[in-house]
Subunit: 293 residues, 4 copies
């Protein structure tokens, strides 16, 4: 506790108060993760890959800033599509029936044409066919890797993950446009399958072989929980930075603050951790600006 | 638009304004779903199964009020554990380091002893062994069914789903305590696997064979998206009730209002839909009280 | 701390978890306030008087359930108007430009015609004239009392407050339609004024003469702070129930949990207090149902 | 509607999506306000003056970036205290009973010693005495001006407002530490008073004499409503930027988006307006960085 001088902080954000202070703490914790060469798990939700954060994520993967990614199937969808197609900016209050008639899908204030998903269908079928040649039953991380291999856009995070051998885990992969395509693909190749237990050993090995682990967790849901949940195997994360807009008062995992994870041993008792309550499109570039100069 | 009399609503909640009105609309929409014999998809997050809502969910399944469930692996965890073990009530602001030392895990203001997970480990291993005898590669819905078969507690939703042949889909099942146990189970039975694509056909068939579909969606994440996403196959849900505490302003799927799904065709243009902005532990019993007399 | 049986709660809500538990605690605390004959301060925001809660507030005042009210000028606006005029129910997503063209004002999903404010203008002018005959410089509580005296609608909380001598404090009264009317009224009666310091002694006396005090605080803003702030004079409230949808993470008074007020001595260290995170149109009728049978 | 290239935005934030886009729009709207020489109303809540934003507000007033300020009494409290005393940075989860025992008040994650309020008591008494010599019944704007005159700290916004004749309106002034001091001051000077109607004419004149008006509204409550409410007199604001963390779903004024104000004529139909959903300590420095180079 420091009942000191609000103006005397060493770093600009720390001394401001409220969530600006937490931006400052997030920067400090990530600095420590990197200084101590912690194995860094990075999780985020699909909407962020539909936003301008995609380029930032790609840059992080290009620089090997993180060691493993845990995300949803939708993140793979958007990364693959945007390697070739553009999304637009609209507004949160557009008329969704009219948009539907025009073949435009709204994701918050981002607009995605139906053509994008037609493109995805073609591309992912090629990826599935390539995988099917190798193995009948594959894993989410293999699909992510092969998507990355199929992309030439340097603004893609999957491109860089494949290049730099950063594994991308997506335990809920069937819940996505890609996942829906497995339904159609299996109509032709009935024995094609995705065994999600295949990735557990690889992920567990990363956790168990790490000296220190850090988590950078943007948003909630399955990606967030998988990141902290697997760290149970080693007694919890040593560093954790959450960026979220969700509320803890409904007991949801998405809204749970870092403290709650301490009771579970998903974040270690002695860990340093902070929850930044802010939309990641604002908070995360501010944080990463300190690292990606 | 009705610039009429606030006091003249036919049903108590509708006339109150703000979210009370939306409680009223949710009741109306579920009445219509049932009246029109819509195939009802029911999705919820794991924290709710850790709460007193579990009994309500069980009652709904007992009465075959819903036709398919889509939920996370954690819901299976909690339902299985609570068939034998009790959870406690604590507080959102408890000291999580002290709780960890005492072997107590905090989920919002609900407390879960470590013994609960030791119990889960034993039980789920038996379930896995039973499944493994039948098939080397299983599906999430099979695991859910077999857990239900193993339970004798009539307060369990899985018990009633198994009894009443209500399929339970859990596309992200490895992200759970049960999922973590697959890692250990595979150390003995290396060829055990969970092929998540197996459930896609069964789920798609339910969607494609339905005359009308309705969604009751509590909370967000993968369960929410899978429910609306699969309804794309038939042009969207005809009725949708969301209950959420998440905010739409960050473009997250969890916070997206029903409107947004209309642009995607996940909810039909002509559908009736409402988003109730409230913790489900308060809102959902109020809604279901009208149906489970 | 009770790591006991989630199902064993004595009272239904307490045993449910998350915000349902807090509903249960709110009921318990209000039971204790009443049992110990605490002086009960009741604060709420104007939007609630525009909703169906107005009738509930009136019933509480009729039964002298509370001893003092602290609210905004807008609450006086809506209570006065609705004594004669009806509001309608619309939707949160209506086209506001179209509504404006039609002379309809939207308050969340409640609709208020311009005629309502024309009515208010006439009525409040009469009230001001009556007051002006008595005193050139008046107080917010006097205005509230005289509005109550002018109303014959038994669904009005001001009607019952005037009848039952429950003082209504409104420290920010000029920020309201009534307040705006003082601007026009003073064009004719230049020496008319509202001295807000006049109410401080009456309010302080209530606080200082109380054996025990309790606060029922719905929503945030000036009404919330004034309720807890004036209780500083006696070392803080003995009981406090907040019902809010605001977030504490931005350091706002509106979002601050009851705990924060303990550090200030606005709620006593040994006080019982709970924050219910829920829209008051849902939560407050649930709570009051236990008292207004 | 622009179904264009997410990457092709002219300005960095606009092209990012979600709330980053709204940061970009806020910058554009403020640029237009300034370009068209709109009369700019600036409103904020007291917690922000307790934070590092105080210095930013002071800089804005120094440069006459805004023409009128509308804020709460607490903003005057914090600005006066911090002219001499320092606040500290703590944490949102500190033990509030312990803090109270130590004489430390918590405001989110900002810490304020009791001495600060002892200092305020002395200083405001001097200010009241000076005012009392001039007039028995004063106004909130006069109090704000005299506080500004009493301060020599160039990091104070009131200092610069007094220097630059920027009026500071505080319609709810008695709800503050300063307001509580009027209770004690009147024990000695019984005829001291604050007539809040006095400020209505000055504020209305600013509104009525403006060619164009813009509102920069941080947070909610009385300050927000007073800013938009008084602009009713001229048919609404021409530009409005809200920065908020509050939710619209409960019908609260604090959570209402800019759209809602259009229905009331508080923001003009043809106005440009945006709501940035973010903690002001993060969002507002990002916005103002474009103007205060």
């Amino acid at each position: 506790m420091n009942v000191g001088d609000l103006k005397a902080g060493k770093q600009e954000y720390l001394a401001v108060g409220f969530q600006a202070t937490n931006i400052g703490r997030a920067i400090e914790l990530i600095q420590r993760m990197k200084k101590e060469k912690a194995t860094v798990f990075f999780s985020f939700t699909a909407n962020m890959v539909a936003s301008g954060l995609r380029g930032l994520f790609a840059e992080m993967c290009k620089r090997k800033f993180v060691d493993a990614i845990i995300t949803t199937g939708g993140s793979l969808d958007h990364d693959l599509i945007r390697a070739k197609m553009d999304y637009g900016i609209g507004d949160f209050t557009m008329n969704d029936s009219e948009l539907h008639k025009k073949g435009v899908n709204r994701l918050g204030n981002i607009l995605i044409k139906n053509e994008c998903y037609e493109f995805l269908e073609k591309e992912i079928t090629k990826v599935f066919e390539k995988i099917y040649d190798d193995e009948r039953t594959t894993s989410p991380s293999t699909i992510a890797k092969e998507i990355g291999n199929s992309i030439s856009d340097k603004g893609s995070f999957l491109y860089w993950c494949s290049k730099n051998k950063i594994p991308v885990f997506s335990p809920g992969i069937t819940d996505s446009a890609i996942g829906l395509q497995t339904y159609f693909f299996k109509q032709r190749y009935a024995d094609f399958g995705i065994d999600v237990t295949k990735d557990m050993k690889q992920l567990a090995d990363i956790v168990l072989n790490a000296d220190k682990t850090g988590g950078i967790v943007l948003g909630g849901g399955i990606s967030k929980h998988h990141t902290i949940g697997v760290n149970l195997l080693r007694g919890g994360l040593d560093y954790a930075v959450y960026v979220t807009t969700a509320s803890p008062w409904d007991g949801s995992l998405s809204g749970a603050r870092t403290q709650e994870a301490v009771s579970w041993g998903k974040i270690a008792e002695q860990a340093k951790h902070v929850t930044v309550d802010c939309d990641a499109t604002i908070a995360f570039p501010l944080i990463m600006k300190k690292f990606l100069k």
